[in-house]
Amino acid sequence: MSKQIYIELKNDLSEINRLSTKLNDFAEANNLSPKILFALNLSLEEVITNVISYGFEDDKEHQILVHINSIEGEISVEIEDDGKPFNPLQVDEPDLTIPLEERPIGGLGIHLIRNYMDDLEYKRDGYRNILKMKKKSNTN
């Protein structure tokens, strides 16, 4: 498999399974460690679940484009959707010092992504959200 893959997903949560399978193949072809694969799987699932669950205000079918590239010890992931404008990087960090029982349940996904990825960038381009995530793959 090449050093990069493009995946087109429909706005259906079951598509995450297909994405995960593709990601496993990509990791194998690029000799990525289980830790890196876990980080990629988790971050992509969190983003895509969010886009599919909250991004679209109609019942139509939408496409979410995922581009994953491995260059010089770094994996870059780009996720593009035509949902409503949403910048996940503006979501407040959850207050983890509040006891679990009283803590609001939102914001956990983006908190995980921030921990697992090395770099995040968001832009709104016309009617599309574009989220770029980077992960160093030569660490372990």
Binding site: N17, K35, L42, E46, T49, L96, L100, E101, L108
Partner: protein, 123 residues
């Protein structure tokens, strides 16, 4: 990846739940349904054996947090055991589990249950 869930009543009011596979957006509801069924009987303890969970996302963590909250409402406890390192890390990042409720082995769980039993019977 699919999720399989088995559960047993270890002793009266103490349930062991063993999910196996991936606990994610597409599978969390399988565990949630089993937990809800068990919660109806107002158990004292639910022990979640995570030995065979190799992947978890925030949706999976939410089920665990929800279970803990539901048990607390009637003074029940959730304990989690045998977390694989990569799964433990997810819980740690979210600060989702107090350390006294995480056990490294089934033996630790048994000791905990013994202590609880003694507390209840006053021995």
């Amino acid at each position: 990846m699919p999720l399989k869930v088995t559960s047993t009543e270890k002793e009266p009011g103490v349930f062991m739940i063993v999910p196996e596979g991936s606990l994610d957006t597409n599978t969390y509801s399988i565990l949630e349904k089993r937990v809800d069924m068990i919660l109806e009987g107002q158990p004292r303890v639910i022990a979640l054996d995570m030995a065979y969970i190799n992947y978890i996302s925030s949706m999976g963590v939410r089920v665990v947090i929800k279970t803990r909250k539901a048990l607390k409402q009637h003074d029940g406890n959730l304990v989690v055991l045998n977390l694989q390192p990569q799964v433990r890390k997810v819980f740690e990042i979210i600060n989702a589990l107090p350390s006294e409720q995480v056990f490294a082995s089934t033996e630790e769980l048994d000791k905990y249950l013994d202590r609880m039993q003694k507390k209840m019977t006053g021995n």
